[in-house]
């Protein structure tokens, strides 16, 4: 009898613990938002992926993309002007796949992904020396650490910080 109740107590503890762990993991994943982005568009890839990697539409809310696409002639200090038809087509793709949930909560004043609240929270533990590393050079250089970023994969398992 005593062994049976001990056994039951053990079972309950193990089950509760694993349930709790699962909940923690699921919540963390949901809070961070997905880190793999599969939506793609040939013109977005070609036109937005020449000077920098084509940043996933999910990283900025729709109003921000609208502002980015209406000011391409003065795009962060360079002329990235496009013909109106191509710009409109890419704009639709960006807005349809724009950030939702946590990444869209605070519509940032900035159009820089690296200055959004979610970006800074996600990268708060990255040491200053890494940002200044010659292989990184700029925060816009996702692939310097996110080795599979060009395939839309920003998962932690594919992060390699330069030494």
């Amino acid at each position: 009898m005593e062994t049976a109740s001990r056994r039951m107590l053990f079972d309950v503890t193990v089950w509760t613990a694993s349930l709790f762990m699962t909940l923690v993991l699921v919540t963390r994943e949901a809070m961070a938002g997905s880190s793999t982005f599969t939506a793609t568009h040939p013109k977005w890839e070609a036109e937005c992926g020449t000077c920098h990697i084509a940043y996933p539409p999910q990283l900025l809310p729709a109003p921000s993309w609208r502002r980015v696409m209406s000011g391409l002639d003065k795009h962060f200090g360079t002329d990235a002007g496009l013909d109106a038809r191509t710009a409109a087509e890419i704009g639709v793709f960006l807005e349809q796949n724009a950030a939702s949930g946590k990444r869209a909560l605070a519509a940032p004043d900035t159009l820089r992904i690296t200055e959004t609240a979610w970006f800074q929270r996600e990268h708060r533990k990255v040491p200053e020396a890494i940002w200044k590393h010659p292989a990184v050079k700029t925060r816009a250089n996702c692939v310097a650490c996110h080795t599979a970023a060009e395939q839309g994969d920003y998962r932690e398992r594919n992060i390699r910080m330069p030494r």
């Binding site: 020449t50 000077c51 920098h52 990697i53 002639d73 962060f76 200090g77 360079t78 002329d79 990235a80 002007g81 496009l82 013909d83 050079k137 700029t138 816009a140 250089n141 310097a144």
Partner: protein, 140 residues
């Protein structure tokens, strides 16, 4: 029978050739002809393009403290790197990268953007032709 085989062979070769060719195919020579026509139109005394002038223009810093070489490097046969984003840029000289100067719309788009960035204005047909003359003079 032999003729039939040749006809089919030719047909297949031609179709494959078209399939492999980009939609708005051009050659650097054709693109240069376009610059020449525009240069003549703007300047009746047009006296041809110069690779040497093109090289000077390519390597000189202009009003925005940038040169073409800031991103494309002083050796257009080699890969470059974007000056602000650090992204790799494929070589610009056609002998090192046969895809360069084969799409007139793409050439126009990039000259407009990059001249605005480097010079703060559009380039003249003379300047574009000189640069292309320089780039096509480079042999791998």
């Amino acid at each position: 029978m032999h003729t039939m085989g040749s006809v089919v062979g030719l047909w297949v070769a031609v179709s494959l050739g078209y399939a492999a060719w980009p939609a708005s195919a051009a050659t650097p020579v054709e693109i240069q002809r376009g610059f020449e026509a525009a240069a003549r139109e703007g300047n009746p005394g047009f006296a041809g393009f110069s690779a040497q002038r093109g090289e000077q223009f390519f390597k000189a810093k202009h009003s925005n403290d940038w040169s073409c070489a800031s991103c494309h490097t002083a050796n257009p046969l080699a890969p470059g790197k974007h000056a602000t984003t650090a992204k790799d840029i494929t070589p610009l000289a056609p002998s090192a990268n046969p895809q360069r100067f084969t799409d007139a719309a793409k050439v126009d788009k990039w000259f407009k953007r990059n001249c605005n960035d480097v010079l703060g204005r559009l380039c003249t047909a003379q300047e574009k032709g000189d640069v292309l003359e320089y780039l096509t003079s480079l042999k791998k």
